[in-house]
Symmetry: C2
Subunit: 417 residues, 2 copies
């Protein structure tokens, strides 16, 4: 299948149906990364097709799905999963024997069952789910590097053709994603936990806010970063989420049940929380001249709630709330942060600057003149005409140290963090 | 009180007890913004005090809280709220008549009651709660511009001295924050909704993940951006959150109850969701050659779940799940985004670049040479030695247009978004 096409091309032709965030990002990675000879794209939205061509998301566009899949060795379904049956009925007759169909849908058990019963004989199916997304929707949210270093789950089962699986693994690795193989049902249970449950949790938060009557407008105004972060995913596409809820109903309802039980336990811990002993401990310590906890978040960093006093072990067993909160904190800190790529541990520097035009250019120039590469940069906060705070990241510690020295020499307020 | 001290100084001396994120940020804004003559800081952690001096967070440090408050016109309590009583017992005798005590605690009804019963006669209390925070803790997370443009709630009640309130309002406005006045109980109900409930919701998510047995390690590995965002606040300081739960128990338990009822309704909507009619509609439409929804997130952007088909209105009333999801989405989109400052609407450009050392410098130089000011910059994704995607923000649309032209002329792949 691959002979005669340059070393770097795994396939002659890949068709992508649906050029949203994932379909578009995959297209860009395949096209711009020269992974395949030709990427053909279809989307029902003509404007999307135009953008797809202009941004080198695909090599060629098709005006209908049947035209898109003709002659393709690999067909990627990147539409809502509920459309797969209708789509397959349409493109099935046009699929050549040996064609590998794969998808990027968020649930897998239903998809694998549906595909195996509907795919034409002689074609192969390999279920896939890249664990990546964007706050922007559609092709505008597609990014050449979105799938770079992302976990890309493939869900073979006992009917999956090993050679077809190996081919799709090769394709996924070629775009720099990390392959994880899971059974379809296990995939669905895991994503119910880490993706579908959080979505419904966020939706319920928005519902609660919406039902808050007289407090609603003030609450919306005061919604700070924590609320915004926690509910961000609630803005997800309702159509896609209906599909997810429908095709992963059993696992999703099971984890919602577990979640409700957890929250009920937390509410009970709040109801029965007794701060008196802690209060006494604090008062005694204060009388000794050592105020525990003064300096929130500095001295108390990393301590469990009841830590720091002589009777901490006893208190921690009698006070469930503090144990629950400390446990959640530890568990959350153990989750790796959002990787922007395969950068090694970033070494950071915080710069506080006056808001003069070209200040970023000035910083970049100072460091560029010393051949210090800025690996990451982020404007944290700014007041126009006044000043702002910029975070700079460097791949190596000595670069960060040098950056501090050179920027300080130039009269810029800078600190290593 | 203010005569004899330059026009820009509202007070001669402000004392801040507790130099964590909020106390430290307030200190930096007052000190570096020249809002007051002298800021004296105390924190029980000696290393924090050292950093506070080195970073111009305060003008002077004190070795105990009593020394810190001596001669101060305003005393800011920025420790966990449960420490206020002990702290007040310690500093009370050192407060001069007329001193205004204020705080930055997360709950207000309990605080206002406690302070009004324990504050020495002749002193005034004004409750405060700046709605801002940082992922970093302690003074390391303090930022000169953190409170810039942030909502800063003050909670006067019928006992509050109007002149003291006016003075604190002046202080808050001087650092660029936006004053919102709320009754203590209303404040507590609103923050229960937008801050304390989301925290417990995130803690329950971590608990559910922790109890997932065999799936736990895979789930942690696959936790994508949505899960990380939704649970980020669960890493909050357990001590502070015990204090919050304790001092806002009633309002918090009430909103948890409402929340559990919301989630139960959503679970019921998932249980009773019937996609058949939608499936039929999709199949019929596909047979007509018009595949609805192909191109996830492009054509379907902004549509409610059941929209786009002729029978949408009927379907939307019979299908609760789609209505709930669409409603949550609209409500979430209505919440303003995280403001980094008072920048006017940013005009954005996406640049895809090779990862050559100094590429940020090159971009900055090209734009600097044309006097185009980069108002915001963010590295979205990067693959070391390969390339990456950078977002540039400009204050004005024509700057963004010019930036596209000049960068394109330099051979850089760039698009306006």
């Amino acid at each position: 299948m691959m002979d005669g096409f340059g070393e770097r091309s795994l396939f002659r032709r890949v068709a992508i149906i649906g050029l949203g965030v994932i379909g578009g990002s995959l297209g860009m990675a395949l096209t711009q990364g020269r992974v395949v000879e030709e990427v053909v794209g279809f989307d029902r939205d003509p404007a999307t097709l135009e953008v797809a061509l202009a941004t080198h998301t695909v090599h060629r566009i098709a005006t209908d799905p049947v035209e898109a899949v003709r002659g393709a060795q690999v067909v990627v379904l990147a539409t809502p999963v509920s459309l797969y049956p209708a789509l397959l009925a349409q493109i099935g007759p046009a699929l050549a024997p040996g064609t590998i169909v794969t998808d990027v849908g968020s649930t897998k058990r239903w998809v694998v069952e549906t595909m195996s019963s509907q795919l034409p004989t002689g074609c192969f199916f390999v279920g896939g789910h890249p664990m990546a997304g964007s706050e922007k929707r559609g092709i505008e949210g597609a990014d050449r590097y979105l799938l770079e270093n992302a976990v890309y789950v493939l869900t073979p089962d006992e009917h999956t053709d090993p050679e077809a699986l190996a081919q799709i693994e090769g394709l996924v690795m070629a775009i720099g994603a990390r392959v994880v193989c899971l059974a379809p049902a296990e995939h669905d249970h895991v994503v119910a936990l880490v993706s579908h449950l959080p979505h419904m949790v966020a939706v319920a938060l928005m519902e609660t806010l919406g039902a808050s009557g007289e407090h609603r407008s003030m609450a919306t105004m005061l919604a700070a970063g924590g609320f915004r972060d926690t509910t961000r995913i609630a803005a997800g596409d309702p159509r896609m989420w209906c599909d997810i809820a429908w095709t992963n109903r059993e696992a999703l309802l099971a984890v919602i049940d577990q979640y409700q039980a957890s929250l009920a336990r937390i509410a009970e811990a709040i109801r029965t929380y007794d701060p008196k002993r802690e209060g006494e401990a604090a008062t005694e310590a204060a009388a000794d001249g050592a105020l525990p906890g003064v300096g929130v978040g500095s001295g108390s960093l990393g301590e469990p709630c009841r830590g720091g006093s002589g009777s901490s072990s006893e208190l921690s067993t009698t006070n469930k709330l503090s144990a629950v909160l400390a446990h959640a904190r530890q568990a959350r800190l153990a989750i790796p942060g959002r990787a922007k790529g395969v950068l090694p541990g970033i070494h950071e520097v915080i710069v506080t600057v006056a808001d003069e035009p070209g200040i970023i250019g000035k910083i970049a120039q100072i460091l560029g003149a010393q051949a210090i590469n800025i690996a990451d940069i982020e404007i944290l906060r700014v007041r126009e005409g006044h000043g702002g705070t910029i975070r700079l990241g460097f791949a190596h510690g000595h670069e960060a140290d040098l950056a501090v020295d050179y920027l300080r020499d130039a009269g810029i307020i800078v600190k290593r963090i």
